[in-house]
């Protein structure tokens, strides 16, 4: 498995690349709902696809649906990146 860590900055970069967003969100977005940040379900589908491609992981769909904030999604990705115990 990869030993890369997935950070909030990585996520925000991928979100911007996938959605075409040009602006940084005001304040700390980690705990803000994606919907409140202006990302709809398609933007998140595009984002998870890009994460899977870049980090070589396969994210569980129902877990993805429950990760409704950047912090939760970063944690989810890192769980998949962690070496199997």
């Amino acid at each position: 498995m990869s030993d890369k860590e997935f950070t909030l900055d990585d996520l925000m970069r991928i979100l911007r690349e996938g959605s075409g967003d040009t602006e940084e969100p005001p304040g700390d977005p980690a705990g803000v709902e994606f919907a409140d940040l202006g990302y709809d379900s398609l933007a998140l589908l595009e984002t998870s696809g890009r994460i899977e491609r870049e980090y070589g992981v396969t994210l569980d769909e129902s877990a993805l649906a429950e990760a409704t904030t950047p912090r939760a999604l970063v944690e989810l990705v890192n769980e998949h990146l962690a070496p199997a115990a």
Partner: protein, 428 residues
């Protein structure tokens, strides 16, 4: 009858019969210009915009010319978030809709959401977007296909994106009917307004100048293979050898005349009459349906042939189709009986955008009192047409726009703003 009352701010008021339906805003994204003013300046000056394809290398293809939209940077006009999820045709449609709304003086956020609709025509859908994602699928795998492919390729996406951008949640849809789409969409918009919707964005837009789209267009077998931009698309000329495709189109703001006047909006003209007909089955030898479409559209408008001051031709540039069109025009108006023009000789045929752009051009012609020219054509005597080959200034009361698909016909009469009242008060 009882019903749950919708929120007042969202509800469409009950208007009964709204009377004449008029156009109060025009937006153009076309090879001839990226707004209505530039399009009209180029068109009335007879400045063709056909050239060799630059979007991809056309060398290996039998047809190599197109009317391309040039100098268009979507990022200059649209928010970044719309770019990764839209094909070029949708970007062109969104920009044209913005222009049309601004031209009409309409602020959608001030109007009830369910009182505004969007009815556009598109026949290709987002072809280049789809081409790129299919390439990703087959060369890199399914994980590399954009999530936005789910709608970006779709015919209805222009209506959908305009609806979302401006919060227009009233009756909406898409019409897929080839070159006739622009007229058929506007006719559907008029129906919705007559049924009570206060404002509809309507028109047509297509843009598929990419290898996949080109292969589809070539399959029709009616593209000109001439390499000389001045000689490639010559409707009603003895040298007619098919058409040059183009991209772009126009969007219009339509509303009841009464509403336009109540808010002091400037009116371009009335969507006064419309009809669509089918041709008889191939090989049965019957007369094509275009003449009937013209007669039915005039009847729908309560007009007769003498009321029409200019005809915007479909202009297929396939000899047999040109003959059928000039015969239909001759049967209704008599030989050399009405000025006929085909400004699409400057842009090529824009598929769903073609008739929408002709309609926009016709409305601008009515306003300016100038018939824009057909460029490059030496009219063949057999057609008996008064084909306008140099801009012709003259007062114009009404224009008839013709469009044909493969086996079907549409005709739409627009009446100049200054004539709408005269007609509807019975002065004619």
């Amino acid at each position: 009858m009882t019903a749950i009352a919708p929120r007042p701010a969202e509800a469409a008021p009950d208007r009964g019969n709204p009377g004449p339906v008029v156009v109060t805003g025009i937006g153009v994204t076309a090879p001839t210009g990226l707004d209505a003013a530039r399009h009209w300046a180029a068109t009335s000056d007879g400045m063709p915009a056909i050239g060799r394809i630059t979007r991809f290398d056309p060398t290996p293809y039998p047809a190599r010319l197109a009317g391309q939209v040039t100098g268009f940077d979507p990022a200059e006009h649209l928010p970044g978030r719309l770019l990764p999820q839209t094909d070029l045709m949708t970007q062109l449609a969104l920009v044209a809709a913005d222009e049309a709304l601004a031209d009409a003086g309409v602020r959608p956020d001030e109007l009830p959401a369910f009182d505004m609709g969007v009815v556009t025509a598109s026949s290709s859908g987002g072809f280049e977007f789809g081409q790129n994602e299919l390439r990703n699928l087959w060369s890199r795998g399914g994980k590399y296909v954009s999530a936005y492919q789910s709608f970006a390729w779709f015919y209805a996406v222009n209506s959908g994106q305009i609806s979302i951008r401006h919060g227009m949640r009233g009756p909406s849809g898409v019409v897929v009917s080839d070159q006739a789409g622009g007229l058929d969409a506007v006719a559907q918009a008029r129906r919705q307004i007559r049924k009570g919707t206060g404002l509809v964005v309507s028109g047509g837009m297509d843009a598929s100048i990419c290898p996949w789209g080109w292969a589809a267009q070539l399959a029709a077998g009616t593209l000109s293979t001439c390499d000389d931009p001045r000689r490639a698309y010559l409707p009603f000329d003895a040298e007619a050898t098919g058409h040059v495709p183009g991209e772009g189109g126009a969007l219009l703001i339509m509303e009841p005349l009464e509403a336009a006047e109540a808010r002091g909006a400037e009116v371009y003209g009335e969507i006064a009459g419309y009809a669509a007909t089918f041709d008889p089955p191939p090989g049965t030898g019957g007369e094509p349906g275009l003449r009937r479409a013209i007669e039915l559209a005039l009847a729908d408008a309560g007009a007769d042939a003498g009321d029409v001051d200019v005809v915007f031709a479909d202009a297929a540039a396939v000899p047999e189709l040109d003959r059928a069109e000039s015969a239909a025009i001759g049967a209704v108006f008599g030989p050399h009986g009405v000025p006929v023009t085909a400004p699409k000789t400057m842009t090529g045929r824009l598929c769903s955008g073609a008739a929408a752009l002709d309609l926009a051009t016709a409305l601008l012609a009515l306003r300016h009192g100038v018939v824009p020219p057909t460029t490059g054509v030496r009219p063949a005597a057999e057609h008996d047409l008064d084909l306008v080959t140099a801009a012709r200034p003259r007062p114009l009361r009404a224009a008839l726009v013709l469009a044909r698909g493969n086996g079907f016909n549409s005709a739409l009469l627009v009446r100049a703003a200054h004539d709408v009242h005269a007609v509807h008060s019975g002065a004619h």
